[in-house]
């Protein structure tokens, strides 16, 4: 034929796409973390930024070493998907403000290496990489990971422990405090709601301001970045179980509101319980998963040795996720 066909591209259906994109999703979550990082710096000074930078550097460097060969954008390898950076930032925000930056770096390395690389990289890991990094740090350096500095000290005051030389321990020479959960557990004192909402309490870098976290969560929800069932069932379970326990023994067990706003629960519910990779894939599974996390959180907080249990609750339910996926495998259509 003379009027030759135009050069036509060949591809297979579908030719339309919903427009969601994994890389954008990761960026979206990173973006929503910006206010959390700013709040951390506001309450805990520049040290917070150093820790975020160190942990991200550890995570990103590890990803780069192991996955630079992967197909990817502009020679970035698998770094391009942004998940390694996200892991680093999330890990940093779960660390105490006085943690040595070398530990933060080590946590980033372990999180990505043990939490992700050995499983085959993005999407194949079964445990939350940021929390694997944190659990490692907590078991390795339990003292450093349970020392809490008070918020609102000078912006430029960096605890000398923060800048301790690699592998060395450092003195915590700024005022320390107890977290609201620690106070509730070991001293029987409840923290007022306002500080827990706004964030001027002791605690991990990113977890102290429940208000900012709720707003981040709403933003991500609006952007459809996660399956809403996961945080919903987690928070709902904590509220219901905590309130029931409070009703049984008001003397020892704080009520639902305190439980929801204190500790890492809100941070975990918005950023970690929602990690698509390490949570059940089925909608029914999401409910079960949240239920499990919620029950374990209350169990550890009220009856465990540790004042806070969000990290362990999530890791344990990560471990149970394959089982949950199995039992909630969709039934056969029409059968």
């Amino acid at each position: 034929m003379s009027d030759a066909s135009p050069r036509l591209d060949i591809a297979t259906a579908p030719f339309l796409h919903r427009g969601l994109d994994t890389r954008r999703l990761m960026l979206e979550v990173l973006l929503s973390l910006a206010p959390v990082v700013v709040a951390a710096a506001w309450f805990f000074g520049v040290g917070a930024l150093l820790i975020v930078a160190a942990s991200s550097a550890g995570a990103v460097a590890t990803e780069w070493v192991f996955h630079r060969g992967h197909r990817g954008h502009r020679g970035l390898g698998s770094l391009a998907d942004g998940s390694a950076l996200l892991t680093g930032v999330l890990l940093a925000l779960t660390l105490p403000p006085s943690v040595p930056i070398w530990m933060a770096f080590a946590g980033g390395v372990v999180g990505v290496a043990l939490g992700k690389t050995i499983w085959g990289g993005l999407g194949q890991n079964l445990f939350n990489p940021a929390l694997v990094g944190r659990a490692f740090l907590q078991a390795a350096f339990p003292a450093a990971l349970t020392t809490w500095t008070a918020p609102g000290q000078g912006f430029l005051d960096v605890a000398s422990s923060t800048v301790a030389a690699p592998f060395a321990h450092g003195a915590v020479d700024v005022t320390t405090t107890a977290t609201p959960l620690g106070m509730a557990k070991f001293e029987g004192k409840l923290t007022a709601l306002a500080p827990m909402l706004f964030g001027n309490t002791g605690g991990s870098l990113g977890e102290t301001s429940a208000l900012i976290l709720v707003l981040c969560g709403l933003y991500l929800l609006a952007r459809r970045a996660f399956d809403w069932r996961l945080p919903a069932s987690t928070l709902l379970t904590v509220a219901v179980v905590a309130e029931a326990m409070h009703w049984l023994d008001p003397q020892h067990n704080p009520g639902a509101l305190f439980m929801l706003l204190s500790g890492g629960l809100m941070f975990g519910a918005v950023f970690m319980v929602t990690d698509p990779v390490t949570t059940p894939i089925t909608p029914r599974g999401a409910w079960i998963y949240g239920l499990g996390v919620g029950v374990l959180v209350v169990l550890i907080r009220l009856y465990g040795g540790l004042p806070e249990g969000v990290m362990y609750a999530i890791l344990l339910m990560n471990g149970a996720t394959p089982l949950i996926n199995r039992v909630t495998q969709p039934r056969r259509y029409g059968g």
């Binding site: 350096f141 339990p142 003292a143 349970t146 020392t147 070991f186 040795g305």
Partner: protein, 214 residues
């Protein structure tokens, strides 16, 4: 290896011979090592007893039978099989106090300890952890932390021992906890409270009946 079908007589015989030989060897080894083992066990305990009862030069061992201490009649340098408590005597023969082993749940696993109890003032005069699996760097400070151990040099046990935050100790019956190891510290206190609660009346009775004094 022996081939073919062996008769059942042979099977039983082989097993019997093996069992017999094994038994003979074991009895030999057991009897040969028993004194040393007993000595080690007793030494480990008595050295701790001397430490938790400062000023003790001689100790006497009591075997606990049906909850009551009975003077142990076994050979010198051995311990009774079951529970035991120890009375410590000073240079001049006065009763320094009792060393009482106790145990209870800690952060990770059971904590076993022995403490020195001075019955007149009803106070604890020393404490040593015999066995624990608490976290290295945190909970295991209950084993060696000198500041923590200083709590037990003269600790009133009545009405009960109370754990407080580090540096908050004001009363003689309070224990400064180890920072970052509140749980383990509280566990030690709980074990002590449980144990003194059980032993205080017994010891009082012993003293009243003159059972332990010399």
């Amino acid at each position: 290896m022996a081939d073919g079908e062996a008769s059942s007589v042979r099977l039983v015989a082989s097993l019997g011979v093996a069992g017999l030989l094994s038994g003979v060897i074991l009895v030999g080894v057991y009897l040969g090592t028993l004194p040393a083992i007993e000595r080690n066990r007793a030494e480990a305990m008595t050295s701790a007893v001397y430490r938790v009862l400062p000023g003790t030069t001689r100790i006497e061992t009591f075997e606990v039978r049906d909850g009551e201490p009975v003077r142990y009649e076994g050979p010198e340098g051995t311990l009774p099989k079951g529970e035991a408590v120890f009375a410590g005597y000073g240079e001049d023969g006065h009763l320094v106090g009792f060393a009482i082993p106790a145990e209870g749940s800690g952060f990770m696993d059971t904590i076993k300890l022995v403490y020195g109890y001075e019955p007149t003032d009803r106070k604890i005069v020393g404490m040593e952890v015999l066995d624990s699996r608490e976290t290295p760097g945190l909970g295991d400070k209950i084993v060696s932390d000198p500041e923590f151990h200083a709590n037990f040099d003269a600790l009133a046990t009545e009405p009960r021992i109370v754990p407080v935050k580090k540096g908050k100790k004001t009363a003689p019956n309070e224990v400064d906890c180890i920072t970052g190891a509140t749980i383990s510290s509280e566990a030690v206190v709980r074990i002590l409270n449980d144990s003194t609660g059980r032993w205080r009346p017994i010891v009082d009775r012993m003293l009243a009946s003159g059972g332990a004094s010399k």
